[in-house]
């Protein structure tokens, strides 16, 4: 009965269905790949067309997205068949993401939405509901993971409700054409005296209560304006009210809220609105309530120097709260910082800070005189300056235009970003508009006509060569990432990367789509980047329609040229709004298959779904093929005849072996399965296959006797068979030599994106120390080939995907060698240093022990 219920709920593995024969499994797998490819191609295309080089309209997005949704859904259906409906949640996830996307492209704005929204629930497309300031802050908090105070937004829906509840829309209508000062004043006082509608009051109270639960009863808030258009295309700087240090109680917050609303109708603000073509009542006011930062010091950053010099950012800083800096009331300190990989302070001027604004214990703020020794002392330590500068660079890069940023550092030394909005600066027109190439003339060319451009643009910085994912933790901001392989792991550093150059890789990989998303100038498949570019060297990559060039040194003129010409589209609100749809399409969150979030529920985008399906499909194939022994019985298994005694039986599931030859055996020449052939060739590489078995020590022998039946057999009897299940482009090889069990699953086709190799090694027959040395050795070797590795006990699993056929054949050849090489390894791994020695020997193709 229980089983029946479980199967009804789809909980039982395979739901009691009969497992289909492996040929069918393999066919399903290939169908998943096909749909996945189609979907990834559409994603790449969308990224390209929405990149700023094309005029596009919403119809294009609609039609491309409809193709994409079809392909992803098709992929899910094939995946269901392959996994026998083991991931029903994927459907729900798909329709959730689909809903989000449709809301964006069909411009559906809920007519009655939430009155209050926590920052964590705000996405950038809610611009109209939460206003520009809230949207930008939530974006920095949720997406850039910057330190933003906890906060909630009171939306424009709340504004509508408040105005309607107090009968104000009619009054606004009456003065719409001719708002004289007296009627504006009357309007403001009606707002101040107005009643908060009951449902808004309840929502506000709930939000305030949640803040108090987290920050204690004595918590205070900053209540700030966030008008619909504020900080978007127009800054409205200083037009609206901000009420600081408001007690976190609903009554006080309600009063402050009304003050902020009223400021929308101040004389100055109405005049400003009129200047920009708005009439009274055109703009709605949302409000942000942020937990107050008890600032020891605070101020403003201009991410570009006021004279337009884009290399320099300026930090103004004063003691206490930043209001005096923002309003220019105090003579603040000024730090000029050169934007480099390691920000460089190039100028400091200490102001005479003879007043400071601080929070009053009972609420509100008060101006006081700082202690005498503080008046002329510098407010920021060099480290603080650098940390603030780095954040400013990140924000500017994300919003892709110069920023005016408010910040504060609290008494414990923690830095917060309080606001960021576009900074208008004078356009710097440089003398002489020579061709781009002329600028670069004095610089040496390091690489030219190599590789494939994935994302156009110019990027410069110091080369940082990444050999394995762990090194990403040390990646310096602003560097150029150079690597042998392309990897979606690089997403971790995408916001900090100036450019990416790899030896291998394709323009349709996961990484490539991330590069387009982050607009990181990227060149892949150069064949030689890691050889030609030195770690630490300064270079400039110029990637364009006509190919790419890598110059020696930083060619500043090229960077500026690029800045002026390609990034401007970002300033268009419509452009940013339309592109936002890519957040739910091409962003990749599921980067690492080994993390807990690698689940259907962890999928936040269409790209995530495709990634999940691909990874799990490979897993499914690997699992099914493991039972190759059954297939040996049921299919015609053919013995492979080689000069070396591998004892491999081949199960041909289609196109793995050439016709003809002896009835029950095959030679190397007959293997047409691309991956199997490459592996076998590797095994036969001269010197790899040691004819003499190295003798096991007595201890090794005893410990092998003591061990439990190992996981390699899964309780089944593999004895005697080494099995290769093969088709023209696929192989699953289970091979056992003595106590070593190797399993290799590989798809190797012309389409790099379809390709994967999964290698698993488990060993026994020796003591634990030697076993772990062996694991270390194999892991070290696999890493060199770009594998992602998991190693546990005496198990090593390596995965590698999205690799061109040629490259993959080379890797398989070496894996073949590795299987042969490690066969005799245990007995010689006598000390830790031997691990490194043998790994080096192997990589340098010295195979004698």
């Amino acid at each position: 009965m229980l089983g029946r219920i479980r199967s009804l709920l789809g909980l039982a593995k395979g739901s009691g269905q009969e497992a289909p024969p492996f040929r069918t499994v393999f066919k399903n797998f290939k169908e998943v790949l096909e749909n996945n490819n189609r979907a990834l191609e559409i994603i790449a295309e969308l990224g390209d067309k929405l990149g700023g080089d094309y005029l596009f309209d919403i119809n294009y997005i609609k039609s491309a997205y409809s193709d994409l949704a079809g392909a992803v859904y098709g992929s899910i259906q094939n995946f269901d068949v392959l996994t026998m409906n083991r991931y029903p949640q994927l459907h729900e996830v798909f329709s959730r993401i689909d809903d989000h996307i449709k809301t964006l492209i069909y411009d559906v704005t809920p007519s009655r939405g939430e009155m209050v929204l926590d920052y964590k629930d705000i996405t950038w497309n809610m611009f109209r509901e939460v206003g520009g300031k809230n949207a930008a802050l939530a974006e920095m908090k949720n997406y850039l993971k910057l330190n933003i105070p906890d906060a909630f937004a009171v939306t424009t829906h709340a504004f509508d409700a408040f105005m309607a509840h107090n009968g104000l829309p009619e009054k606004i209508e009456a003065i719409r054409e001719n708002p004289d000062p007296r009627s504006l004043e009357r309007l403001r006082s009606e707002i101040i005296r107005g009643e908060i509608p009951p449902d808004l009051a309840v929502a506000l109270q709930g939000a305030v209560e949640r803040i108090r639960e987290t920050f204690g009863r004595d918590c205070f808030l900053a209540v700030r304006s966030s008008a619909e258009e504020e900080d978007g295309d127009f800054s409205f700087a200083g037009q609206f009210e901000t009420v600081l240090n408001v007690q976190a109680r609903s009554k006080a917050v309600g009063e402050a809220y009304k003050k902020v609303l009223a400021s929308l109708f101040s004389e100055n603000s109405v005049a400003y609105q009129k200047m920009h073509g708005y009439r009274v009542g055109d703009i709605k006011m949302a409000v942000g309530c942020l937990v107050m930062v008890d600032a020891a010091k605070s101020g403003v950053i201009y991410s570009v120097a006021p004279n337009g010099d884009r290399d320099i950012l300026v930090i103004n800083s004063t003691w206490g709260l930043g209001t005096s800096v923002v309003e220019g009331q105090t003579d603040a300190d000024m730090y000029m910082v050169k934007k480099e990989v390691e920000p460089l302070v190039v100028g400091t001027k200490y102001g005479r800070k003879d007043s400071m604004v601080i929070m009053r214990e009972e609420g509100g703020t008060v101006k006081v005189r700082p202690a005498e020794e503080m008046v002329e002392a510098g407010t920021l330590a060099e480290e603080e300056v650098k940390a603030l500068a780095a954040q400013a660079v990140q924000i500017e890069k994300h919003f892709r235009r110069p920023q005016d940023i408010e910040w504060a550092i609290d008494k414990s030394g923690k830095a917060f970003i309080l606001q960021s909005r576009p900074l208008r600066i004078p356009e710097v027109v440089r003398e002489g508009s020579g061709r781009r190439e002329e600028y670069a003339a004095p610089h040496g060319v390091l690489m030219e006509n190599m590789g494939v451009v994935v994302q156009k643009g110019v990027g410069a910085g110091r080369v940082f060569v990444v050999r394995h994912p762990g090194e990403l933790d040390r990646f310096p901001k602003g560097s150029v990432l150079v690597a042998k392989f392309d990897s979606s792991n690089f997403v971790r550093v995408m916001p900090y990367v100036s450019a990416i150059i790899t030896d291998t890789g394709t323009p349709t990989s996961h990484m490539a789509s991330l590069c387009r998303e982050f607009r990181v100038p990227t060149l892949v498949n150069t064949g030689a980047a890691t050889r030609l570019l030195q770690h630490g060297q300064e270079i400039t990559l110029k990637a364009g329609d006509d190919g790419a060039v890598v110059y020696d040194g930083v060619v500043r003129e090229l960077l500026e040229y690029d800045d002026r010409n390609s990034l401007k589209m970002e300033e268009l609100f419509e452009f940013r709004k339309r592109r936002y749809v890519l957040r739910y399409i091409s962003v990749l969150n599921l980067v690492d298959p080994l993390i807990d979030a690698f689940t259907p529920e962890g999928c936040k985008t269409m790209h995530d779904i495709l990634r999940f399906i691909h990874e799990k499909s490979v897993g499914e194939l690997v699992e099914r093929a493991r039972y190759g022994n059954d297939m040996v019985k049921h299919h015609m298994a053919i013995k492979l005849d080689l000069p070396i005694p591998t004892g491999i039986m081949i199960v041909d599931i289609g196109g793995g072996l050439a016709a003809g030859g002896a009835p029950r055996s095959a030679t190397l020449e007959q293997i047409v399965s691309v991956p199997l052939r490459a592996i076998v060739k590797g095994m036969m590489h001269p010197g790899v296959w040691h004819a003499d078995a190295v003798s096991l020590g007595v201890n090794d022998f005893i410990s092998s006797m003591m061990r439990m039946p190992d996981i390699t057999t899964d309780g089944r009897d593999y004895a005697g068979y080494n099995v290769a299940v093969a088709s023209g482009e696929y192989v699953n090889l289970s091979i056992r030599f003595g106590y070593h069990f190797n399993m290799l699953d590989c798809y190797c086709s012309e389409n790099a994106r379809n390709n994967h190799v999964y290698f698993r090694f488990v060993g026994g027959a020796t003591d634990i120390v030697k076993r772990s040395r062996r694991v270390e050795l194999i892991a070290a070797i696999l890493r060199e080939y770009g594998f992602n590795i998991v190693a546990k006990g005496d198990l090593v699993i390596g995965r590698l995907a999205n690799i061109s056929k040629g490259e993959l054949e080379k890797v398989l050849d070496h894996l073949g060698r590795l299987i042969g090489y490690t066969r005799q390894l245990d007995a010689v791994l006598n000390d830790d240093s031997s691990v490194e020695r043998f790994a080096r020997n192997f990589l340098e193709e010295r195979y004698t022990f």
């Binding site: 309209d57 401007k568 589209m569 419509e574």
Partner: protein, 121 residues
């Protein structure tokens, strides 16, 4: 081509916004319209060197824009942009009268090159 005048008509704001930004960078003077009526009103008052218009729009569509432009200023060049699906029909119907056709999405570089050619003649 400093100051030469381009008009862009498309019922989607993003098309006009992006075109304006891109063309202004090359020194053109650009005006954009979201539909045909005000565009034609403007054209009656002033001549433009090139008119870039969407084919399918509510009210006055690209065809009518083309006819009016040609009647008022035979030497003004018209570039038609249209959804990919409508392209064949459009090319057939308008052969000879328009300077160029582009299916959307339009590569900005190609549009600029086409405008360049239109102005050279």
């Amino acid at each position: 081509m400093q100051g030469q005048k381009i008009m862009v008509i498309d019922d989607e704001k993003i098309v006009g916004d992006m075109a304006k930004l891109a063309l202004e960078q090359d020194g053109f003077y650009v005006e954009t319209f979201l539909n045909g009526e005000p565009a034609l009103e403007r054209l009656k008052k002033e001549q433009f060197d090139v008119v870039v218009t969407d084919l399918k729009m509510k009210g006055i569509d690209g065809m009518e824009v083309l006819r009016t432009v040609k009647r008022l200023y035979p030497e003004t060049k018209v570039i038609m942009i249209t959804a990919f699906a409508n392209l064949d029909a459009a090319i057939e119907a308008l052969r000879g009268d328009v300077h160029d056709f582009f299916p959307k999405p339009v590569k900005i570089k190609e549009l600029k090159a086409s405008i360049q050619r239109a102005l050279e003649r």
